[in-house]
C-alpha cells in the first residue's frame, strides 16, 4: 500500500517535471518565432521611420545631380491672357520665388521655352520646376519677382538663359538598375535554362555530370565580393570595359547561373514523364519534345527563376561596386566611361559610406523594400496559379 503510494507520488513528480520541461521548451519555441517576426518588423519600421519623410514625387522623378544648362529661347511674343502675378507674356511661363530662386511654375502649351536649344543647338525643353539663374545679362541672384519678369520680357527676339534643373531624385539609379537587370537576364537566362535542360534531359550519370554539378554547387557558395574581385580583374581591367553596366552584367550573370539552373531544373523535373513519353511516342524528336512540350509546361517555373534572379540583382552590391561603379548617371553606352552606373543598392551603400547620410539612404531602402515585396508577391502569384493548373 505504501509502496503503491510512493510510486504514484514518483509518477506525479515525473509528470510535473515533464510538464515543466515541456512548458519551457514550448515557451522558447514561441519566443524564437516572435523574435524572428519582431526583427522583421523592427527593420522595416526603422527603414520607414528614417526613409519615409524623404520620399516624395521629386525624389522619385528627378535626376540625382543638379544639371545646369545655358539655353537660347526664341521669344515670339505670344499674347497670353494669363493675369497671374508671375506670368511672363513673352515666354508664356509663370514664375515664382522659392528660397530666393526663380522657379518656373507653369508653362503654356504654345510656349517658346518648349523649343529651347542648348549651346550645341540640341533641343532642351524647359520643364516645370527648373530654376532660372540668369537671363540675358541679368543675374537672378537676390532678385524680386518684378525685376525677374522685367528681365525676361526685356527686348524682343532670342534670349539666353541659364537654367538649373534641380536633382535629388533616384531616376538614374532606377534606370541603371533596369538596364543591368535586362542585360544580365539576356546573358544569363538562356545559358542557365539551356544548362538546366542539359542536366535534366540529356546528361547521363557519370563523371561529366558530377563535375558540372560540383561546379554549380561551388558557384552558389562563392560570396559576392569574390565575384566582384573577379569581375574587376577580368571584365573591367582584362577586357578593358572599365566600370560599366556590361562588366557588371557579366559578373552578375555568372553569379546568378546557379539560381537559374537549379530553379529551372526543379520545374523541369516536375514535368510528368508521361508528357515526354507520349510526345516521343507520337514520333517527335527529342528536340521537338523539349521545345514544344517540356519548355511550355515548365514556363511558369522558369519565370519564377527569372523573378528570383531579378530580386538578387536588385539587392546586390558587393559584386557591382567594382564592376559597374557608383556614379549616378543614366548609362549611354555598354562599355566605357559613359557606361558606369550605380544601381539603387550601390548608391545606398555609397551614401552610407561616403556621406553617412542615413536618412537619404533609408529613402532608397524604402524603394528597395517595396521592390522586393512586389517581386515576392509576383513569384507567389505565378507559383500559385501554376500549381492550381497542375493539380486540377
Amino acid at each position: 500500500m505504501r509502496a503503491k503510494a510512493r510510486r504514484w507520488e514518483f509518477t506525479m513528480i515525473k509528470n510535473s517535471n515533464t510538464k515543466l520541461k515541456d512548458g519551457i521548451a514550448g515557451g522558447l519555441i514561441y519566443l524564437s518565432a516572435t523574435i524572428t517576426v519582431a526583427i522583421l518588423i523592427v527593420i522595416i519600421g526603422f527603414v520607414l521611420y528614417k526613409g519615409l519623410p524623404g520620399i516624395n514625387l521629386k525624389f522619385l522623378t528627378r535626376m540625382w545631380d543638379d544639371v545646369t544648362t545655358v539655353v537660347d529661347v526664341n521669344r515670339n511674343n505670344v499674347t497670353g491672357n494669363n493675369t497671374e502675378a508671375g506670368y511672363v507674356e513673352s515666354l508664356g511661363i509663370s514664375i515664382a520665388l522659392e528660397d530666393e530662386a526663380v522657379v518656373i511654375k507653369s508653362i503654356d502649351n504654345d510656349s517658346p521655352v518648349k523649343d529651347a536649344v542648348n549651346v550645341k543647338k540640341v533641343p532642351y525643353a524647359l520643364k516645370k520646376g527648373d530654376v532660372i539663374g540668369k537671363a540675358g545679362s541679368t543675374n537672378f541672384k537676390n532678385i524680386t519677382l518684378e525685376e525677374a519678369k522685367l528681365a525676361l520680357n526685356e527686348g524682343t527676339g532670342p534670349i539666353k538663359m541659364k537654367v538649373t534643373r534641380p536633382g535629388g531624385g533616384i531616376v538614374p539609379m532606377l534606370v541603371s538598375t533596369i538596364y543591368i537587370i535586362g542585360l544580365t537576364l539576356i546573358i544569363a537566362a538562356p545559358i542557365g535554362i539551356c544548362a538546366a535542360i542539359y542536366l535534366n534531359e540529356y546528361a547521363k550519370p557519370g563523371k561529366t555530370l558530377n563535375i558540372i554539378r560540383f561546379a554549380i554547387q561551388n558557384l552558389a557558395g562563392i560570396p559576392s565580393i569574390i565575384y566582384g574581385l573577379f569581375g574587376m580583374l577580368v571584365f573591367v581591367q582584362g577586357f578593358k570595359m572599365s566600370y560599366s553596366i556590361l562588366a557588371g552584367s557579366f559578373t552578375l550573370s555568372i553569379m546568378l547561373l546557379p539560381t537559374i539552373i537549379s530553379t529551372t531544373e526543379e520545374t523541369l523535373k516536375e514535368v510528368p514523364r508521361t508528357y515526354r513519353e507520349s510526345s516521343m511516342g507520337l514520333g517527335a524528336t527529342k528536340l521537338q519534345t523539349i521545345s514544344k512540350i517540356i519548355i511550355p509546361s515548365a514556363l511558369p517555373g522558369i519565370l519564377v527563376a527569372i523573378i528570383l534572379s531579378i530580386g538578387r540583382i536588385v539587392g546586390e552590391s558587393a559584386a557591382l561596386i567594382w564592376t559597374a561603379g557608383t556614379i549616378a548617371q543614366i548609362p549611354k553606352t555598354l562599355v566605357g566611361s559613359e557606361a558606369a552606373a550605380a544601381t539603387l543598392t550601390t548608391k545606398m551603400y555609397w551614401l552610407i559610406k561616403e556621406t553617412a547620410d542615413l536618412e537619404q539612404a533609408s529613402s532608397i531602402a524604402v524603394v528597395l523594400i517595396v521592390l522586393v515585396i512586389a517581386l515576392n508577391i509576383l513569384s507567389k502569384f505565378i507559383t500559385r496559379r501554376f500549381l492550381k493548373k497542375r493539380t486540377s
Binding site: 540529356y202 562563392i222 566582384g228 545606398m348 522586393v372 515585396i373
Partner: protein
C-alpha cells in the same frame, strides 16, 4: 518514289543535324559553370599569390600571422582579421541557429496554418532584403544600442557584427531546417506519441534528431553566408588597423570588409594584397562548400535508402 525517299532521307539528316547542334549548345551552356569556377579560381589565386613570389616578395608567413595592416608602411598582416571573421561567424551561428531552428519547429510542427501563412512570407521577405539595408539597420539601431551599454563607449564592435550576421542567416536556417523537419515521416511522430511521449518530447527527441543532417547542412550554409557577408559587416565592424579582439566590445576587421574598404583606391602591391585576402577567404569558402556538398550528398543517399 525514289525521289520522295531521297527527300525523306535529306529531311531526316537535317533533323539529326539540328538535334546534334542543339545537344552541343545545351552541353556548352552547362559547361559555362565549370569554366566560370575554373576562371574565378585561376584569376583570383594568380593575382592574390603574386606578392609572395618573385623579387622583393612579401613573406607569406608574415602575411598570414601578422597582427597589423598598414599599407602605407608596407605592412600586411591578416591574422587578426581571420580571427575576427571566425569569431563573428561562430557568434552568429551560436545566436542564430537556435533561434532559427526553434522558429522552424514552430512553423513545421506547432503553428496553425493561418499563422504559417503570415510567418512564411515574413521570412521570405527577410531573405530578400538586400544586405546594405541590414548594414543601415545595424548602423542605425544595433550600433546605437551597443554604444549605450558598451564599456568602451563605441558601438562598432564584434557584438554588433554577430547580431547582424545572426539576423542575416536566420532565413537560410529557418527555410532549410523547416523543409528537413517536414521531410521526417509521419510514422516517426506516431510511434513516439504511441509510446506516451508528449508533443514537445516528440519534437525534440524524435523529429529534430531525425532531421539532423538537414539542420547541419543549414548550419554549414549559414557559416558560408556569414563569413562571406561584406556590405552589412563593413559598416558596423569598426575596421581597426591591428590587434586581436579581446572581448565582444572590441572592433574587428573581417576579411571581407578589408577587401571592400580599400579596393576602390588600392593599386600595385596593396591591391594584390587585397586579392590575397580574397584568396584566404576563398579557401575558407571552398572548405565550407566541400563540407556542404558532402553533407547534402549524404542526405541524398539516405533519402534513396528510404
Amino acid at each position: 518514289m525514289n525521289n520522295a525517299n531521297k527527300e525523306k532521307i535529306v529531311a531526316k539528316r537535317q533533323k539529326d543535324y539540328k538535334e546534334k547542334v542543339f545537344h552541343f549548345i545545351f552541353l556548352v551552356s552547362a559547361l559555362v559553370s565549370v569554366l566560370s569556377v575554373i576562371a574565378i579560381i585561376v584569376f583570383v589565386f594568380s593575382k592574390g599569390l603574386k606578392p609572395f613570389f618573385g623579387e622583393g616578395a612579401y613573406s607569406f608567413f608574415d602575411f598570414i600571422t601578422g597582427l597589423k595592416w598598414d599599407p602605407g608602411n608596407d605592412v600586411y598582416g591578416i591574422f587578426y582579421m581571420i580571427v575576427g571573421s571566425v569569431l563573428a561567424t561562430l557568434g552568429a551561428i551560436v545566436l542564430g541557429v537556435p533561434i532559427g531552428l526553434l522558429t522552424a519547429v514552430f512553423i513545421a510542427e506547432i503553428a496553425p496554418k493561418k499563422i504559417v501563412a503570415i510567418i512564411r512570407p515574413a521570412i521570405e521577405l527577410l531573405a530578400g532584403i538586400p544586405s546594405v539595408i541590414y548594414g543601415a539597420f545595424g548602423l542605425g539601431v544595433i550600433v546605437q544600442l551597443i554604444k549605450k551599454v558598451s564599456p568602451t563607449g563605441q558601438g562598432e564592435s564584434l557584438l554588433a557584427v554577430i547580431c547582424v550576421l545572426a539576423i542575416m542567416i536566420l532565413p537560410t536556417i529557418i527555410t532549410l531546417s523547416e523543409s528537413s523537419l517536414r521531410a521526417v515521416p509521419k510514422s516517426y511522430r506516431e510511434a513516439s506519441y504511441g509510446l506516451g511521449a508528449s508533443k514537445i518530447q516528440t519534437i525534440f527527441k524524435t523529429v529534430v534528431p531525425a532531421a539532423k543532417s538537414g539542420i547541419l547542412s543549414a548550419t554549414v550554409l549559414g557559416i558560408g553566408r556569414a563569413i562571406g557577408e561584406t556590405m552589412a559587416v563593413m559598416m558596423i565592424a569598426g575596421n581597426n588597423i591591428g590587434g586581436l579582439p579581446n572581448s565582444i566590445w572590441s572592433k574587428i576587421r573581417p576579411l571581407t570588409s578589408n577587401i571592400s574598404m580599400e579596393m576602390s583606391y588600392a593599386s600595385g602591391r596593396h591591391q594584390d594584397m587585397l586579392f590575397a585576402t580574397g584568396v584566404v577567404l576563398f579557401i575558407f569558402i571552398l572548405v565550407i562548400n566541400t563540407v556542404l556538398i558532402r553533407l547534402t550528398g549524404k542526405m541524398g543517399d539516405e533519402g534513396s535508402k528510404k
